[in-house]
Symmetry: C2
Subunit: 244 residues, 2 copies
């Protein structure tokens, strides 16, 4: 349990609901995003790939399987989350996979109603990721995109898992439960984590007091977008429900 005097914040730009509706134009620059944290995940303008941010360095996995080291700080993102690592709880896990993270681990750390960041490093026996392909206008819904996303696997690879846990009641605002990305130590393999298992991983867990949810209020597509909560819930379940 952290002390009462420490306040930590997860910063999120954009909402999953708006992205689901096909609002995929970037609405925050990398430069502005990095003002709120050095570590995180997201996607680029047009849903172009899976982003991993570690120590202020930005990596983009694109849908042919390559990883770009992005140095353009004016590139824009429609949806991204970052934080500043601090007040970390050290984690050591054996025989770990999504079943363990969703089960014993989430229960032990009483995650279900809070936001947390997880970083895990080590050698992975197996990793499976997916990478969103860049979309062109008129943008389809995220559900349509999700049906045709390429996946990639890698065995015996050393790397880092980075991402977040979000409470179920925020499940239209962001991805509920675990939303994790992976990047290999050689920065050649990365993506949105679908499956993994490892004998031994080490890392850290950070629990947030605050979600700072930033809205692109000057973006008309965001502002005017229609939300059908029933369709939204079904779509999120189909496109994001892949971790258990």
């Amino acid at each position: 349990m952290k002390g009462n005097d420490l306040i930590s914040t997860l910063y999120e730009h954009g909402t999953l609901a708006s992205l689901m509706a096909g609002n995929m134009d970037g609405t925050i620059t990398v430069a502005d995003l990095l003002k709120h944290g050095s570590t995180g995940i997201g996607t680029f303008n047009g849903l172009d790939g899976e982003v991993i941010i570690l120590d202020g360095e930005v990596y983009q996995a694109v849908s042919d399987g390559h990883v770009n080291h992005m140095t353009d700080r004016q590139a824009k993102m429609p949806f991204a989350s970052v934080h500043t690592p601090e007040d970390l709880e050290k984690i050591e896990l054996s025989n770990v996979d999504f079943t363990a993270l969703n089960g014993d681990f989430a229960e032990k750390h009483a995650l279900k109603n809070i936001f947390a960041a997880l970083r895990l490093k080590g050698n992975f026996n197996h990793v499976k990721v997916r990478i969103a392909p860049k979309q062109e206008k008129p943008y389809p819904s995220l559900l349509e995109v999700a049906k045709g996303q390429p996946t990639f696997t890698n065995d015996n690879v050393t790397g880092t898992i980075i991402g977040y846990y979000a409470p179920e009641i925020f499940g239209s605002v962001t991805a509920a439960g675990w939303h994790l990305h992976f990047i290999s130590d050689d920065r050649q393999f990365a993506g949105h984590l679908l499956e993994f298992n490892a004998d031994q991983l080490t890392g850290d867990l950070q629990i947030f007091d605050n979600l700072q949810q930033h809205m692109p209020i000057n973006d008309q597509a965001f502002r005017q977008g229609e939300v059908d909560m029933g369709i939204l819930r079904d779509s999120i379940a189909q496109s994001e429900g892949n971790n258990d």
Copy 2:
């Protein structure tokens, strides 16, 4: 449309979902809440009344219909929202009621996907409020409490409406749509606004870039609370769905 360089934040402590589940113990002091804004709404420990905060002064409407001017800054609240009035858009409305706020007004200001604060002053032809009665442990669900809340009406009264608009996708985190409280100029009549109409009101609208959602992460009832999303949606619809 506000400028890109102005950032404003709505601060919220606690979640509607947790309150619905019966977690009614206060988890933030008035002193700590007021660090994040001078104006807002909320409720006290044990769901004791309806709170109106104007210019840093805290008023509590209690269920016998009286209004207390609260000066105890160590009193605790389980759920509250505050902001600092700034970058205000002046509002003048004729023949205004909830139908107008939910319809033309929300559409004109493109509110549906954003958070906003509304403050309206003037003479009201009619006002109907409800006031949550203080609960004792073991706390019931908010749905149970909502079934038996006293209501009060007042005609030809001058006063202020203060409260917030929230997007539908945040409807388990806070009250979606309008969540407004009322207090009379003589500070003798106040509560959670159920109905009103007025010939002419003036005030201001403030649109937020950010929701700062603060969680009572050291509170075990909050941390461990079970959320059944289906029951939660039904309960919120029944207990909060009163403005249209």
